[in-house]
Subunit: 103 residues, 2 copies
Protein backbone atom coordinates (compact mmCIF):
# COMPACT_ATOMS: atom_id res chain seq x y z
CA UNK A 1 0.00 0.00 0.00
CA UNK A 2 1.22 3.50 -0.82
CA UNK A 3 1.31 5.46 2.44
CA UNK A 4 0.91 9.18 1.85
CA UNK A 5 2.75 10.31 4.98
CA UNK A 6 5.85 8.38 3.85
CA UNK A 7 5.80 10.06 0.45
CA UNK A 8 5.32 13.48 2.05
CA UNK A 9 8.12 12.76 4.50
CA UNK A 10 10.48 11.74 1.70
CA UNK A 11 9.77 14.91 -0.27
CA UNK A 12 10.26 17.14 2.77
CA UNK A 13 13.52 15.44 3.69
CA UNK A 14 14.79 15.59 0.10
CA UNK A 15 13.99 19.30 -0.04
CA UNK A 16 15.72 20.00 3.27
CA UNK A 17 18.83 18.04 2.33
CA UNK A 18 18.88 19.64 -1.11
CA UNK A 19 19.10 22.98 0.70
CA UNK A 20 21.92 21.66 2.89
CA UNK A 21 20.00 22.39 6.06
CA UNK A 22 19.79 20.41 9.28
CA UNK A 23 16.71 19.11 11.06
CA UNK A 24 17.52 21.58 13.81
CA UNK A 25 17.53 24.58 11.46
CA UNK A 26 14.29 23.72 9.71
CA UNK A 27 12.41 22.65 12.84
CA UNK A 28 13.42 25.90 14.50
CA UNK A 29 12.30 27.97 11.51
CA UNK A 30 9.02 26.06 11.37
CA UNK A 31 8.52 26.32 15.13
CA UNK A 32 8.02 22.59 15.47
CA UNK A 33 10.06 20.26 17.63
CA UNK A 34 13.05 18.54 16.08
CA UNK A 35 11.60 15.18 17.09
CA UNK A 36 8.30 15.92 15.39
CA UNK A 37 9.94 17.00 12.13
CA UNK A 38 12.14 13.93 12.21
CA UNK A 39 9.13 11.66 12.67
CA UNK A 40 7.27 13.41 9.84
CA UNK A 41 10.26 13.04 7.51
CA UNK A 42 10.49 9.34 8.31
CA UNK A 43 6.77 8.87 7.65
CA UNK A 44 6.12 7.86 11.22
CA UNK A 45 3.75 10.70 12.02
CA UNK A 46 0.98 12.37 10.03
CA UNK A 47 1.71 16.08 9.62
CA UNK A 48 -1.33 18.17 10.42
CA UNK A 49 -2.33 20.70 7.79
CA UNK A 50 -1.15 23.55 9.99
CA UNK A 51 2.28 22.03 10.69
CA UNK A 52 2.77 21.02 7.06
CA UNK A 53 2.10 24.66 6.19
CA UNK A 54 4.73 25.75 8.71
CA UNK A 55 7.30 23.26 7.44
CA UNK A 56 6.77 24.34 3.82
CA UNK A 57 7.16 27.94 4.96
CA UNK A 58 10.41 27.11 6.73
CA UNK A 59 11.67 25.42 3.56
CA UNK A 60 10.40 28.36 1.48
CA UNK A 61 8.61 25.98 -0.86
CA UNK A 62 4.95 26.48 -1.78
CA UNK A 63 2.67 23.75 -0.46
CA UNK A 64 1.44 23.15 -4.00
CA UNK A 65 4.96 22.34 -5.18
CA UNK A 66 5.42 19.80 -2.40
CA UNK A 67 2.04 18.26 -3.23
CA UNK A 68 2.84 18.16 -6.93
CA UNK A 69 6.07 16.31 -6.25
CA UNK A 70 4.27 13.91 -3.92
CA UNK A 71 1.56 13.38 -6.54
CA UNK A 72 4.15 12.62 -9.21
CA UNK A 73 5.94 10.10 -7.01
CA UNK A 74 2.68 8.41 -6.00
CA UNK A 75 1.65 8.29 -9.67
CA UNK A 76 4.86 6.47 -10.54
CA UNK A 77 4.27 4.06 -7.63
CA UNK A 78 0.73 3.50 -8.92
CA UNK A 79 2.02 2.84 -12.42
CA UNK A 80 0.30 5.91 -13.84
CA UNK A 81 1.85 7.90 -16.65
CA UNK A 82 2.84 11.38 -15.56
CA UNK A 83 2.49 13.89 -18.41
CA UNK A 84 5.64 15.69 -19.41
CA UNK A 85 5.39 19.11 -17.85
CA UNK A 86 7.61 21.95 -16.81
CA UNK A 87 7.16 22.13 -13.06
CA UNK A 88 8.99 24.30 -10.64
CA UNK A 89 11.16 21.80 -8.85
CA UNK A 90 11.98 21.64 -5.18
CA UNK A 91 15.06 23.78 -5.62
CA UNK A 92 12.92 26.59 -6.97
CA UNK A 93 14.27 26.40 -10.50
CA UNK A 94 12.42 25.25 -13.55
CA UNK A 95 13.42 21.92 -14.99
CA UNK A 96 11.98 19.66 -17.62
CA UNK A 97 11.26 16.24 -16.37
CA UNK A 98 10.17 13.20 -18.23
CA UNK A 99 8.76 10.74 -15.77
CA UNK A 100 7.49 7.55 -17.25
CA UNK A 101 5.89 5.06 -14.95
CA UNK A 102 6.64 1.40 -15.07
CA UNK A 103 3.36 -0.17 -16.05
CA UNK B 1 -3.80 30.30 5.28
CA UNK B 2 -4.39 27.46 2.87
CA UNK B 3 -5.51 24.45 4.90
CA UNK B 4 -4.67 21.20 3.17
CA UNK B 5 -7.41 19.11 4.78
CA UNK B 6 -10.03 21.54 3.42
CA UNK B 7 -8.66 21.24 -0.11
CA UNK B 8 -8.53 17.44 0.17
CA UNK B 9 -12.08 17.41 1.54
CA UNK B 10 -13.34 19.55 -1.31
CA UNK B 11 -11.75 17.29 -3.92
CA UNK B 12 -13.14 14.13 -2.31
CA UNK B 13 -16.63 15.59 -2.06
CA UNK B 14 -16.53 16.87 -5.64
CA UNK B 15 -15.46 13.43 -6.84
CA UNK B 16 -18.21 11.67 -4.89
CA UNK B 17 -20.90 14.07 -6.07
CA UNK B 18 -19.62 13.85 -9.63
CA UNK B 19 -20.23 10.10 -9.37
CA UNK B 20 -23.72 10.71 -8.02
CA UNK B 21 -23.01 8.73 -4.87
CA UNK B 22 -24.10 9.36 -1.30
CA UNK B 23 -21.96 9.69 1.80
CA UNK B 24 -23.50 6.43 2.96
CA UNK B 25 -22.47 4.54 -0.16
CA UNK B 26 -18.89 5.75 -0.20
CA UNK B 27 -18.34 5.46 3.54
CA UNK B 28 -19.62 1.90 3.42
CA UNK B 29 -17.39 1.01 0.48
CA UNK B 30 -14.40 2.61 2.23
CA UNK B 31 -15.26 0.93 5.55
CA UNK B 32 -15.18 4.24 7.39
CA UNK B 33 -18.02 5.74 9.37
CA UNK B 34 -20.37 8.12 7.62
CA UNK B 35 -19.60 10.76 10.23
CA UNK B 36 -15.88 10.46 9.68
CA UNK B 37 -16.18 10.78 5.90
CA UNK B 38 -18.47 13.76 6.33
CA UNK B 39 -15.98 15.48 8.61
CA UNK B 40 -13.12 14.77 6.19
CA UNK B 41 -15.12 16.18 3.28
CA UNK B 42 -15.85 19.34 5.25
CA UNK B 43 -12.20 19.74 6.17
CA UNK B 44 -12.92 19.31 9.85
CA UNK B 45 -10.81 16.22 10.32
CA UNK B 46 -7.41 15.21 8.98
CA UNK B 47 -7.68 11.99 7.01
CA UNK B 48 -4.98 9.53 8.02
CA UNK B 49 -2.94 8.10 5.17
CA UNK B 50 -4.63 4.73 5.58
CA UNK B 51 -8.17 6.11 5.52
CA UNK B 52 -7.42 8.42 2.61
CA UNK B 53 -6.22 5.33 0.77
CA UNK B 54 -9.50 3.57 1.59
CA UNK B 55 -11.62 6.52 0.51
CA UNK B 56 -9.75 6.82 -2.81
CA UNK B 57 -10.27 3.09 -3.31
CA UNK B 58 -14.00 3.44 -2.63
CA UNK B 59 -14.16 6.27 -5.19
CA UNK B 60 -12.03 4.22 -7.60
CA UNK B 61 -9.70 7.17 -8.10
CA UNK B 62 -5.92 6.78 -7.77
CA UNK B 63 -4.47 8.66 -4.82
CA UNK B 64 -2.10 10.43 -7.19
CA UNK B 65 -5.01 11.88 -9.17
CA UNK B 66 -6.61 13.24 -6.01
CA UNK B 67 -3.27 14.74 -4.95
CA UNK B 68 -2.69 16.25 -8.36
CA UNK B 69 -6.09 17.94 -8.26
CA UNK B 70 -5.41 19.18 -4.73
CA UNK B 71 -1.99 20.44 -5.82
CA UNK B 72 -3.51 22.31 -8.77
CA UNK B 73 -6.14 23.97 -6.59
CA UNK B 74 -3.58 24.93 -3.94
CA UNK B 75 -1.32 26.32 -6.67
CA UNK B 76 -4.13 28.57 -7.89
CA UNK B 77 -4.80 29.67 -4.30
CA UNK B 78 -1.08 30.41 -3.93
CA UNK B 79 -1.07 32.41 -7.14
CA UNK B 80 1.25 29.97 -8.89
CA UNK B 81 0.94 29.27 -12.57
CA UNK B 82 -0.10 25.71 -13.28
CA UNK B 83 1.41 24.43 -16.53
CA UNK B 84 -1.04 23.35 -19.18
CA UNK B 85 -1.10 19.58 -19.02
CA UNK B 86 -3.35 16.73 -19.95
CA UNK B 87 -4.20 15.11 -16.63
CA UNK B 88 -6.67 12.34 -15.99
CA UNK B 89 -9.50 14.18 -14.32
CA UNK B 90 -11.57 13.00 -11.41
CA UNK B 91 -14.14 11.38 -13.67
CA UNK B 92 -11.45 9.16 -15.13
CA UNK B 93 -11.50 10.77 -18.55
CA UNK B 94 -8.78 12.86 -20.11
CA UNK B 95 -9.46 16.55 -20.42
CA UNK B 96 -7.36 19.52 -21.36
CA UNK B 97 -7.33 22.17 -18.75
CA UNK B 98 -5.85 25.57 -18.84
CA UNK B 99 -5.59 26.80 -15.30
CA UNK B 100 -4.15 30.22 -14.93
CA UNK B 101 -3.61 31.50 -11.47
CA UNK B 102 -4.66 34.96 -10.43
CA UNK B 103 -1.44 36.59 -9.45
Amino acid sequence: MIVLRREIGDVLRDARQHQGRTLREVSSAARVSLGYLSEVERGQKEASSELLHSICGALDIPLSVVLREVSDRVAVAEGIFVPDTVPVDLAGTVSRRDLTAVG
